[in-house]
Amino acid sequence: MFALITDNLPIMLQGAGMTILVSGVAIVLGMPFGLLLCFGVTSSRTWLRRSSRIYQSVWRGTPILVQLLIIYYLLPLIGINVVPVLAAILALTLNTIAFQADIFRGGLQAIPPGQMEAARMVGIRKWAARRHIIVPQIFRLVIPSLVNETISILKNSSLVSVIAVTELMRVSQQIVAATYRPFEIYITAALIYIIINLCLSFAGRVAEQRMAGRA
């Protein structure tokens, strides 16, 4: 049994690497767009607010698996041929943008409007104030929720196995198909997921404490 696991561990870790890559890129790419969407959702311009909300409803109201398959099969139809891993990253990014926008909105609403007024009264333009005053404070407030979202995307990234991206789940399935030892392999996969997520929680707590120490 140990031989089975140790023999397959290197290739599973490679798969884990792909899992981290796909979800990591999605989370990081999702942040700037999530922030933009957050400002869209809270905008005073009706058309911008409405279209931002529609985007959110669509991506929060449909299963990731459906989103993934639509993007994977839609892109070639409109003449864009991408490798599966890019389609996977695109789907997860577009999905996490909708959720991150809501997380950031929570943070934004916790910041008193007076912060922006004070910035405007020393001549700082709205976007500069957002960058230097509002966004840094949002991040301090939403670190725990952002860690949750990262964990959630990391777990959901197992779904991209259906479009033949060789991440941890896909690799595990392939090993099981060859060895007929589902129990050992899937337990190992689960352990790898847990270890990655525990590291994420830990990093989140360290980041939180560092920022809390300053004010």
Binding site: E117, A118, M121, P136, A215
Partner: protein, 282 residues
């Protein structure tokens, strides 16, 4: 006091402000002249803070005109009437207007010095080293020269408000608007903020102060404006206004204030009496 032919720093003509069906300001006309200290007093809901926020265009006024040093604030005149001005022009018109807020509105993730210098760096594009010099200077003027590296949460309320004043001062404004600067402070911290403001008044900075501190208004103001229900009811030198109020409403307002003050003094007298008895018993 200003002479006849000086341009007012702020010129307010027939300004109204409506929030839906509620009229917060109905036809305010007021001039703020260079080096003048004007205190605006009045009961809660009289529109004094709204007027101050209109002067800085944090609140859009509904009709009338406000000019800052001769330039129309917030709107531009077109053939079709008044239309809202661009943010860039609004910034430009009010670039010499500073503001101090009731709740300080310091940026909690930045040091005191960064709070004071951010506007210099971002809007006036002053290089870091020079901005820091100006910032340290401003902090020294409010007696916080040694607190440049502190974060707002590490300061008392009075100190935070003085940083708020320094932040306005650093921009080199021609007029500073104070929106109830001591209302959010514990009573024992009010004095240090008022003292700081007195120094600025003596230095000749034009100030408009919305306040409930009658003592400050009586001592420091060149002119006191009494507002009630969205109108300027009465204005004049504090000596005249406080001793010979012309309107019934101001008389009533001052009476209420004196009663409250008397109550406080009686309380103190009673406490003192209790204290005396205790000492005699011991």
């Amino acid at each position: 006091m200003a002479t006849e032919n000086t341009t007012p720093v702020i010129k307010i003509r027939n300004v109204t402000k409506e929030f839906g069906s509620f009229t917060a300001l109905s036809g305010i006309t007021l001039d703020i002249n260079p080096s003048e200290v004007v205190c605006i007093i009045g009961p809660s809901g009289s529109g004094k803070s709204t007027l101050l926020r209109c002067m800085s265009f944090l609140e859009e006024y509904t009709s009338g005109e406000i000019e800052i040093e001769g330039r129309l604030l917030g709107y531009k005149k077109t053939a079709a009437g008044m239309v809202r001005d661009s943010e860039r022009n609004i910034d430009d018109v009010r670039r010499n207007v500073g503001m101090v807020f009731q709740h300080f509105n310091l940026w909690p993730h930045m040091t005191t010095l960064d709070n004071v210098t951010l506007g210099l760096r971002l809007s006036k594009r002053i290089p870091d080293a020079k901005a820091r010099d100006i910032g340290r200077d401003a902090l020294a003027r409010v007696g916080l020269g040694d607190f440049a590296g502190r974060y707002p949460a590490q300061l008392s309320g009075g100190q935070q408000q003085r940083v708020g004043i320094a932040r306005a001062l650093a921009m080199g404004p021609h007029v500073i608007l104070f929106d109830e600067p001591t209302s959010a402070l514990d009573p024992q911290l009010v004095g240090e903020v008022l003292d700081t403001m007195k120094k600025l008044a003596v230095a000749g900075i034009t100030m408009v102060v919305v306040t409930h501190e009658m003592g400050f208004a009586a001592q420091v103001a060149d002119r006191v404006v009494f507002m009630d229900r969205g109108r300027v009811v009465e204005q004049g030198k504090p000596s005249a206004l406080f001793t010979e109020p012309q309107s019934a409403r101001l008389r009533e307002f001052l009476d209420t204030w004196r009663q409250r003050n008397n109550l406080f003094q009686t309380d103190q007298a009673r406490l003192a009496a209790v204290g005396d008895r205790r000492t005699t018993e011991a």
